[in-house]
């Protein structure tokens, strides 16, 4: 076990807010921008990443004393790639519509830096249980962030939520938000918002 005590509450607080993979750590931006055009994709991508994170963290933590530090990155990638391929095959077999819309971004989870970052900075230094919880917390943080981004983009860009028409007929959706440019705008706006909230709560503490 690590020296500093592991707190479940802190892990989730980190994952959801303080160290949110997207809004604070800015990890996995490529897939975030690409898949967040609809909430369905956002949830699917978030859960896929969460699944891979939990399992890769678990196995890397269990094997951490067997993995020589010289080849640790190669070993992590092998383990991560294995689980990503499992997700890819399972989605194609059981949720083909999701596999279709996420397309290339499922195989690309392998190089999603969130997973490698958690392997390197957490799972390789902690026991299996905390590592799994860390994977879960980070994964949920990633999923929540993706859902927020994709909800904004889908609602304003297509006028739908989860494929259901929400906005009135007279509302003409702003296609800009569905395009990559819109992705950057929404993510940038949300990062600013998160930073603003953080700085406000910080200045409150200092008072």
């Amino acid at each position: 076990m690590a020296k500093d005590k592991f707190s479940v509450k802190k892990a989730f607080r980190d994952g959801l807010f303080d160290q949110n993979p997207i809004f604070v750590q800015l990890l996995g931006m490529c897939s975030t921008l690409a898949v967040s055009t609809s909430v369905f994709n956002g949830i699917g991508m978030g859960l896929s990443v969460t699944f891979v994170l939990i399992l890769s963290n678990l196995f890397i933590s269990m094997l951490r004393n067997l993995i020589p530090s010289k080849i640790r990155i190669a070993s992590y990638i092998v383990i991560i790639a294995g689980f990503v391929t499992v997700v890819d095959m399972v989605l194609q077999a059981f949720i083909p519509s999701l596999a279709e819309s996420l397309g290339l971004f499922i195989p690309l989870i392998v190089v999603n830096c969130i997973i490698l970052a958690r392997a390197e900075s957490f799972a390789s230094k902690h026991g299996p249980l905390p590592s799994m919880l860390d994977g879960l917390a980070m994964g949920i943080g990633f999923t929540v962030a993706l859902v927020i981004i994709s909800a904004i983009r889908e609602l304003l860009g297509s006028g739908t939520l989860l494929g259901f028409k929400i906005t009135p007929q007279s509302f003409s959706p702003a296609v800009l938000l569905i395009s990559p440019v819109g992705g950057f705008l929404v993510v940038g706006g949300l990062i600013a918002l998160v930073q603003w909230i953080k700085s406000k709560s910080r200045s409150k503490k200092e008072d």
């Binding site: 055009t37 609809s38 094997l63 080849i71 294995g82 391929t85 095959m89």
Partner: protein, 181 residues
């Protein structure tokens, strides 16, 4: 030397374990994936033409169309050929896989998109089966194929689909000539 060898051996062991895991998962998912794709194609064909379908495995796709046309199915009803379904893969902004239904008089019964990753909100407009683009093909033949109007902003996707339809018509006319039906 020995140290490096042990690194290699260890990494190989990890790889072997992962490969074992993947082969087990593949065992369970492979058949389902193949079956799903087969059913998706079957459903699309049945929407385009009625009758029973057989893949024309003995028909050699001419070299000029071999890049786009991947398979041809013959639709038969009461022993008579009623048309052909042509599996086509074309390039829009990305790869588009679709099926084109063609009657024996070389008119199009419809176009079904099986797989596409065109830009959502832009190119994808030309992929919508109930949209403004795809329904235009119904009833056309190679003579008036140019009368379709592309979706503005989705020209590349639209033109891609159109070129695929042309390939399908070419192949079908070759089949019909060859058989003299």
């Amino acid at each position: 030397m020995k140290k490096y060898l042990s690194l290699g051996v260890r990494l190989s062991l990890f790889v072997a374990a992962v490969v074992l895991m993947l082969s087990v998962v593949n065992l369970f998912t492979r058949d389902i994936i193949v079956e799903r794709q087969r059913i998706a194609g079957q459903v699309a064909r049945e929407a385009l033409l009625s009758g029973s379908f057989t893949e024309m495995t003995d028909f050699v796709i001419p070299e000029s169309e071999a890049k786009t046309v991947t398979a041809v199915y013959r639709a038969e009803q009461n022993g008579a050929v009623v048309g052909y379904c042509v599996d086509v893969t074309v390039k829009g902004y990305n790869e588009i896989t679709m099926i084109v239904g063609v009657n024996t008089d070389l008119t199009i019964t419809g176009v079904k998109i099986l797989k596409q990753t065109e830009t959502p909100g832009i190119g994808s407009k030309a992929m919508d089966e109930n949209g403004a683009f795809l329904p235009q093909f119904k009833g056309l033949s190679s003579r008036n194929l140019d009368s379709v109007t592309a979706i503005s902003g989705a020209t590349v996707s639209s033109v891609g689909v159109q070129s695929g339809v042309r390939s399908a018509l070419n192949v079908c006319s070759l089949i019909l000539e060859g058989k003299g039906e």
